[in-house]
Symmetry: C2
Subunit: 247 residues, 2 copies
DNA sequence: CGCTCACCTTGATCTGCATCAAGTCGTCTT
DNA sequence: AAGACGACTTGATGCAGATCAAGGTGAGCG
């Protein structure tokens, strides 16, 4: 998968200044001096696809940024029903400042590399480094916006609209730079997508087939596809038909 | 837009130290000096039930705390489907630091009094007053948690579980102090509740009737009720059956 | 006082998605 | 190469909640 392009070398000491998420992560606003302080307390940690990174309620020893790969946040009800409540892509942050635990499970959907800081020293740094706490507030607010958009999806959208919105989000977040008809890889199984969208895996599968039949998506295999008709995909999301389309 | 706020009787100068939301709002951690600075730039604004407080996309001149009453946050899709994405109770905060607009409408569900600050001076204060920004991060994180819980409700719960969860939340947030079989008043119409829960108003009405028939709720009128069987209500939420139940 | 209108209730019917079921496909194991 | 297994697809059927429809109730007002 393209997101893992740099995979293995990452776990060795890498300069923050060369970090692929340098300009989007929690450290985005740090100057060189601040970066040096972070550099001293950071460590890279890798997880294989499927591994649980943090269990709900576990003592949180680290806070982390996702460097590469994709992780999921999910909540489970008593009787086993699962709802995914977030997707972590590179540059996203894990950890509540001022809390010792999380109220959801964090799981590696693909192989994942984290840039981690021990919680205590990080919180100390947070107080002394406004650039970090400012960025953290920004990121929390962005996440809140995203959560609210997702509430609309979960509460009001049809299965078709849900899947279209999911694909659209993937497309937008994946290739921020290069547009064009790029091949995409689904980072999640049908079941995981269903869990994110509040659907069943069968419904997700049927909607994928439908998009294929309509010529909106074109699959090269079960996980790899290109968006053949981007306008139709946007139309199918049910959202306002803006989104900065090319004229 | 009709942001006419004529009634200003309740809203005479009130000392922050006597404010009912003093210990829970964004100013909760402020010391006396900081409170004085806030006092200087604050103003009270009142809205009648049904009035729109802020339209999605409007320039945000103020940030505010809810002093009394209840406001709703909602998003509307192209074709008119509405999803409520938050409920603001006293002490809750309106406004994204660092943003000039909101991506949802804020509406007064009951008569509402806000404690407002002009955005610019407040943001200046934010930089100079860590106690405020710390509290703001805390509140944003709490909201994020609540949003994620709501995602589980919207994505996975049945109509019965949704309504039970809603009532349970109201009960918990309303009388934090006095427990016992207190009479509650629904702050929202059936339609608004439906909008919050991702249901239709008819389904909400039917579920209320069901709870009445089962003796879980006891209505004195369409809006006023008491929880007659709290254990059964908790059971009906579908959540973990903890919550400090008496043994 | 009776009219209106917003809000709510209840019944009948419909439908989108869940559920149940039976495969296919590709990869890994031995 | 055969089998097993996990991921996925597709079909048949069921049902929770949406939709359509027809009142009921009470506060405000001429």
């Amino acid at each position: 998968m393209q997101i893992n392009r740099m995979s293995v070398q990452l776990t060795e000491r890498m300069k923050c200044s060369e970090c692929p998420i340098r300009h989007r992560a929690v450290c985005a606003r740090c100057d060189d001096t601040e970066l040096e302080r972070l550099e001293k307390i950071k460590s890279y940690r890798s997880f294989r696809a499927g591994e649980t990174i943090i269990w709900r309620g576990d003592d949180l020893h680290h806070v982390s940024s996702v460097v590469s790969g994709i992780a999921t946040l999910s909540k489970t009800l008593d009787d086993g029903r699962v709802q995914m409540v977030g997707l972590l892509l590179p540059s996203d942050f894990i950890g509540h400042p001022g809390r010792k635990t999380l109220d959801f499970d964090v799981t590696a959907a693909t192989d994942v590399v984290l840039c981690s800081f021990e919680r205590k020293p990080f919180e100390k740094l947070l107080v002394e480094t406004p650039h970090i706490s400012q960025r953290l507030v920004e990121m929390a607010m962005d996440e809140l916006d995203a959560a609210r958009d997702w509430m609309v999806l979960l509460g009001r959208k049809t299965a078709r609209e849900k899947l279209a919105s999911f694909i659209q989000m993937l497309v937008q977040r994946s290739h921020i730079e290069g547009s064009g008809m790029q091949e995409m890889t689904l980072p999640l199984t049908r079941e995981e997508i269903a869990s994110y969208l509040g659907l069943t895996l069968e419904t997700v599968s049927r909607q994928f087939s439908q998009f294929r039949k309509e010529g909106i998506l074109s699959f090269t295999d079960r996980r790899r596809f290109t968006v053949a008709d981007h306008a139709a995909l946007l139309e199918a999301t049910g959202d306002d038909a803006d989104g900065g389309v090319i004229i």
